[in-house]
Amino acid sequence: MASRRRDIPEINAGSMADIAFLLLVFFLVTTTMDIPTGLQVALPPISEEPPEDSKQKKREVLEVLVNAADQLLVEGSPLTIDKLQQKTVDHLTNEGKDPTLSTTSTTAIVSLKNDRGTSYDMYVQVYNELTAAYNRVRDDYSMQQYGKKYTELDPQRDKDKIKEVKKKYPRKLSEAEPVSIGAQ
């Protein structure tokens, strides 16, 4: 018996490494590491009817305009991009204090209008600042109420809390129908 067992030859695994290396190189070449990230947007559904006249009072709307030269106009006055976030936060959390800004956070609207000639880079920056403003007020409110940031709330366990924060600060970011004024 012992002699027969000795007869089974050992499998040569020396080339196994070569095969594995080959596979490894294949995967290294054909794959990419980056996970896609982006700014999420919910587009409004299209409707055939002309938009009805806005019943919103002017003070509820924070008007943000970006022209073809990538300049920013907020509520009729020029503003630099680094001050846009603070301005939006002020608008959202005004609660009727400043007569030119919103009365309550639930009725506050941010209206973004851009030109066809605006650069995509500038648009993304502006959109980013507005999103940042919404995230900031939500974080602050959530921190105040529940001692936890909005982004750290668990979607399963803290469902009601998330709903509450969303109700307090609804994301009303409206984008105007496109216009063409500046050069393409």
Partner: protein, 153 residues
């Protein structure tokens, strides 16, 4: 004579490499798990804008891709072009493309389909606005402006 020199003519034993495949396989599995397949050949240049509020896109299978940017091959000029899958396209092709892609998917998944718009920094908003309008027409309302995470310093 050196202290370390062996006096005998004994041959050096062969290094045991039987654990090498295990190590390589480990590396291989790491790369298989941590990466995704590159499945599209880029025809346009897309240098992404940077943003701080970016979110990770959940599932790769629930994404449509639209690329916009100046063609990489300069013989096609420098005007920004739209790329769908592996070919150049025009603004009118988008509706059909999204509809076709949606037909391949499970019906339950369609409301969750996100369009990932990969546009070059230098692209003007005119073309982006046109794409947005087309997407609204086919009811593909979830859009993501692909941007790389900006590192605050």
């Amino acid at each position: 004579m050196s202290k370390f020199k062996k006096d005998g003519g004994r041959p050096t034993p062969a290094i045991n490499t039987s654990a090498l495949p295990d190590i390589v396989f480990m590396l291989l599995f790491f790369f298989m798990v941590a990466t995704k397949m590159r499945d599209k050949e880029m025809k346009v240049q897309t240098q992404l804008p940077q943003a701080t509020e970016v979110e990770k896109l959940e599932k790769k299978s629930r994404l449509h891709y639209i690329f916009v940017g100046p063609p990489l091959n300069e013989s096609f000029g420098t005007t920004p072009r739209i790329q769908l899958d592996d070919a150049f396209a025009t603004i009118d092709d988008i509706q059909q493309y999204i509809t076709l892609k949606n037909n391949e998917k499970d019906e339950k998944e369609i409301p969750f389909m996100t369009t990932s718009l990969k546009a070059d920094k230098t692209v003007k908003m005119g073309i982006v606005t046109d794409i947005k309008q087309e997407l609204r027409k086919v009811n593909a309302l979830k859009l993501s402006y692909t941007a790389s995470k900006e590192v605050k310093d």
